[in-house]
Subunit: 276 residues, 2 copies
């Protein structure tokens, strides 16, 4: 593991590291914000998953989350959205291939060789973070759009692993919207039964642990009625008796201006769950 | 004038506009953040000047200033750092030509045709803002690096125009450092006497209005000892009896992580000056 960026920020440190990942069989980068409290002792960790086209940089430069992490004493880890590099399969479209890993373990060639972002985020990355940084084993997870899908599905699939989960503008039912159908057909193949394992609106039907789902969604989001449709998750959660709070935000779109406006509330929510 | 972006942000609106500028004889873009209070009445304006290579986008996407502007009820206007376009003179270097206007009125060809950023920022832009947006005539000005130089010099050259001025990591003595020497030689010519009109460490010697100068500077800034040298302004201000507060910030560099960490203090400072 090699540290490639380190910048003072709100009394703590915003760092970027690269390392060899077994899960994706290639180099991966992640960002970690260490709040001032991490100089005195171990702090809990919020994992952040970004959306289509993003790297580890988008969240750390645009969301303004460090201020809140410093206030509440938690670290934030933001990883890349796919494996990268010349040897890694790719596609011309922005919504498939590099920058669009969809947080699944691909089972179909050529994607299956490197596109194992589910294993990376759910298992390899937390183990790496907990080995090398001053953090506790308390974890929370959140994300935006494709990353909101990642956060919801990874939390639902791993009961007990996360203290809390939230999402901004998530793709809640990828099996039923164009972004998800395209990606899952490529990464998982044509058998739609296999898609259910990565679909929050399906997973919520059978989740044993009723970890509350917190979602913020702008009502001026250009993808709301086509790709996102948070009502599909809300309905499935209600039918399953799974707590789900959907907060519609009037006038907000799909951008980081939306995330920046409400990330403080999400950081406070996760901090309360992890600092009992 | 045409609005080309409008995004909800912290209860207000982050907008970007383009318009035909007389000062630079070409199209210019600027960003304006209108806080929630602007829906009820006129608000004062903080003008922000960015550094080398920046457009109007850098500050609005990376500084996180909207939260503080919304808290304090002030608008923030961030403009581009030079004229732009195929017909505008340019240079291969990042520190001359487009993206590097240095907030002067160029007097030497080919720069003199469009590079009149001093007139644009000091006169044309505020007049445009005050004509078209719900703002008062209370103004403050701040900036980063080359933009810190711009803020300090424009405030010093226009007594009574600004309620307050501040800067992050400013170039305080451009006549005596490589960035400034290169730009001023190109834009203003070889007669160094003409450079004094755009050099904060010179202007402070004769400023009638003793508007306090507030400067934040990271001590891990890679340009501190070569290009910035804030002590040169501090000494000149002291000799002139001009109030100047230089706050050295341990561990901080030249990046937007530094600006984001302290922009809240600057917004509060300007709000206090403009909301008497």
């Amino acid at each position: 593991m090699e540290r490639i960026e380190r910048r003072a920020c709100f009394g703590g440190w915003q760092e970027v590291h690269r390392h060899r990942s077994k899960a994706v069989d290639g180099e991966m980068r992640f960002a970690i914000y260490l709040p001032p409290q991490a100089a005195q002792g171990n702090v809990p960790v919020l994992y952040w998953l970004s959306g289509l086209t993003c790297t580890e940089q988008n969240f750390i430069t645009k969301a303004g989350a460090q201020r809140y992490a410093a206030e509440h004493g938690l670290a934030i880890v933001a990883c890349d959205t796919s494996p990268r590099g010349e040897q890694v399969a790719d596609h011309d479209a922005y919504d498939l291939g590099q920058g669009a890993g969809f947080y699944v373990n691909a089972t179909v060639a050529p994607w299956s060789q490197h596109y194992r972002m589910y294993d990376y985020v759910a298992h390899e990355l937390p183990a790496l973070i907990e080995q090398h940084f001053p953090v506790t084993k308390k974890r929370a997870i959140s994300g935006h759009s494709m990353g909101g899908h990642g956060a919801l599905t990874i939390a639902l699939k791993n009961p007990g692993r996360y203290s809390s989960v939230s999402a901004f503008s998530p793709i809640v039912a990828p099996s039923r919207v164009p972004w998800g159908e395209k990606a899952f057909a490529a990464y998982l193949g044509s058998d739609r039964e296999t898609w259910r394992a990565y679909d929050a609106a399906e997973l919520v039907k059978t989740a044993n642990e009723k970890l509350p789902l917190l979602i913020d969604q702008g009502d001026a989001d250009e993808f709301l009625h086509t790709q996102l449709q948070p009502g599909l998750l809300q309905e499935a959660a209600k039918a399953a008796g799974h707590p789900c709070e959907l907060r519609m935000r009037v006038g907000y779109d799909h951008s980081y201006y939306f995330i920046a406006s409400f990330i403080g509330e999400h950081v406070a929510y996760h901090a309360a769950a992890m600092h009992p």
